[in-house]
Symmetry: C2
Subunit: 94 residues, 2 copies
DNA sequence: TAAATAGTTCAAAAACATTTGAACTATTTT
DNA sequence: AAAATAGTTCAAATGTTTTTGAACTATTTA
């Protein structure tokens, strides 16, 4: 009884997954399983702040991460429900 | 006990899924659940032969479809084991 | 054997995604 | 209050993907 994703939404998710840096970020977040600051992830991935900002935005707009601002930092974690909806339950929406 | 996909392989699959025409092809093939000729799919998607050829190659190289040549036609169907490995079982490989 | 059909290949053009560095905002520390 | 830190925004440059049309191969039909 939960709404079917549109093609636009699916595209956003698959495009977000179709990049090596973003797959690495997902892997990193999955390993830690807690909110981590953008800066920490950026350092671990060896990318610039600007590039990090760009990639986090894409992951966020796809719904793959959630973001929480704490003082001057942003903490990020995986939104597993989105992975489940688009990947694990892929055949439910195809 | 089955080999972990490499980052390259995952990227190929997610890139293949990150396109509206290819998602439509997958949807079409899923509905029919049988091998269909490239020409028939191309007509149903309203794309040129050249564009069809390009997209089928990408889906094939990602392992998302299998292709069988019969006389001068090519028949295509979904390879569900690849969808299962990369999507349904996403968390096993992340 | 000539014409038609199914699909491929190639290179150029067009469209789209990513990176870069500088300038910026907001917050925290000294 | 000044300096430092976390992150964003912008436009330009670079890189990658997709589309296009013409020429091609292989097979089938007339």
């Amino acid at each position: 009884m939960t709404k079917q994703p549109t093609t636009e939404e699916k595209l956003k998710v698959f495009k977000a997954l179709a990049d090596p840096i973003r797959l690495e970020v997902i892997h990193y977040l999955n390993g830690l399983d807690q909110a981590v600051s953008c800066g920490e992830i950026g350092q671990a991935m060896h990318i610039s702040k600007t590039s990090g900002s760009y990639h986090f935005k894409i992951l966020q707009e796809a719904g793959l991460i959630t973001v929480q601002k704490v003082a001057r930092e942003k903490y990020v974690k995986l939104d597993r429900s989105t992975f489940d909806e688009y990947l694990t339950h892929f055949w439910q929406n195809v």
